[in-house]
Amino acid sequence: MTNITSKNTVIIALSTALLLTGCANQTPNLSSGNVEYGDSKAVETLTNQFGSTDLQSIAQSMSNSLLQSPALRAKSRPLVTVADVKNHTSEYIDTKAITDTIRAKMLKSGLVRFAVDTSAMQNQTDELIRQNSGLYKKSKSKKLGQMEGADFRIEGTIASIVKRADDVKDVYYKFSLQLIDNESGVIEWADEKEIRKTSNQSMF
C-alpha cells in the first residue's frame, strides 16, 4: 500500500513538473501583456488630428510628383536643399518629419542629390573646422571652400480648415510644396496634397 502511494506521488509530481514546463514562454518575447508592436504603415484613424497616415500620404504624393517634374529631369542628378515648411494650422505638426521623409524617398531613387539644409549646417561647419584644425593630415582631411551650392530648394506650407456642426467635426488639410531655382528665383514646380478627415461624435 505504501509502495502504491509513493508511486502515485511520484507520478503526480512528474506530471505537474511537465505541465509547468509546458506553460513556460516558448517565444523570444518578454511581455507584460499590455504592449504589442503594430504595423507602422497601417492607416491610423484614432483621432482627426494630424497623424502618421497623413504624414506618409503627403510624403508619398509629393515625392512622386517631384520625381516626375521636368525641372529635376533637365539636369542629371541636380542638387537640392530643403528649406522650411511653415505650419499654418492650429495644431502642432512636425513639418521637418514630412520633409525628411520626402528627402529620403527622393534620395533612394538615385535621381536627385541633396545638400545639407540650414538645420544641419552647424554640424557641417563644425566637422570641416575640426578636420582643418591642424590635428589631421592635410592629405587626408577635407578642404574648406569645396561645398557645392544647391541648384534648387524645396519649401512649402501646411494649412487647415476645421469646421464643426452638431456631432460632426471636419478637418481639411492642404499641404503645398514648391521647387525654386536658387539662382533665378523661378518656381519650377509646385504641387498640393489635400486631406479630409471627418469624425462623428454621436453616441448612437
Binding site: 497601417a42 502618421s52 500620404s57 516626375q68 524617398k105 533612394k108
Partner: protein, 141 residues
C-alpha cells in the same frame, strides 16, 4: 436479363477502376490555373476577397527610368466603399525592392471608378503588385 445479372457480369475490379478515374478527374478540375503574368489577377494581391470593389484596369509605363502604374478601381455597390491600397515593387529577377510603402486610404463613391497611381522608388523596379484591402472583404470577421 435483370440488373442483378448485369452487376454479376461486370467485373468488380472495373467498379474500382471507374471510381478511381472519377476521383482523379474530379481532383484535376480543382487544380487552380496559373494566371497570365500580364493579367490583372497576377498583379493584384487581395487581403481577403473584396465584395464590391474591383480592379478593372491596370496600365504601366516606364517614364524616364521610373515605372509608373495607374489602376482603376470600380465600386459595384450602391453604397460608398473604403479601400486601402499600396504598391509593392519588384526587380527584373522577382526580388522585392520596396515593400515599405504606407497603406493609403481611398473613398470610392457608389458606382464610381477611381484612379490610383504608383511610381516606383528606384529605376531597378521593373514589376509591381498592387495590394488591396477593403473593410467589406468577405474574409473579414
Amino acid at each position: 436479363m435483370n440488373l442483378t445479372d448485369v452487376k454479376r457480369k461486370i467485373n468488380p475490379m472495373n467498379w474500382v477502376l471507374f471510381a478511381s478515374l472519377f476521383l482523379t478527374l474530379n481532383a484535376c478540375s480543382t487544380i487552380p490555373s496559373v494566371p497570365n503574368p500580364n493579367s490583372i489577377p497576377a498583379k493584384v494581391e487581395q487581403l481577403g476577397e473584396m465584395s464590391y470593389l474591383h480592379v478593372s484596369h491596370i496600365a504601366a509605363q516606364k517614364r524616364k527610368q521610373l515605372l509608373f502604374v495607374q489602376a482603376e478601381i470600380s465600386n459595384s455597390d450602391s453604397d460608398n466603399q473604403q479601400l486601402f491600397y499600396r504598391f509593392k515593387w519588384l526587380d527584373a529577377n522577382g526580388f522585392v525592392i520596396d515593400n515599405d510603402e504606407a497603406w493609403q486610404p481611398l473613398l470610392v463613391y457608389a458606382g464610381q471608378q477611381q484612379t490610383i497611381n504608383g511610381l516606383a522608388p528606384t529605376p531597378q523596379a521593373t514589376d509591381f503588385r498592387i495590394l488591396v484591402s477593403s473593410p467589406d472583404n468577405t474574409g473579414n470577421p
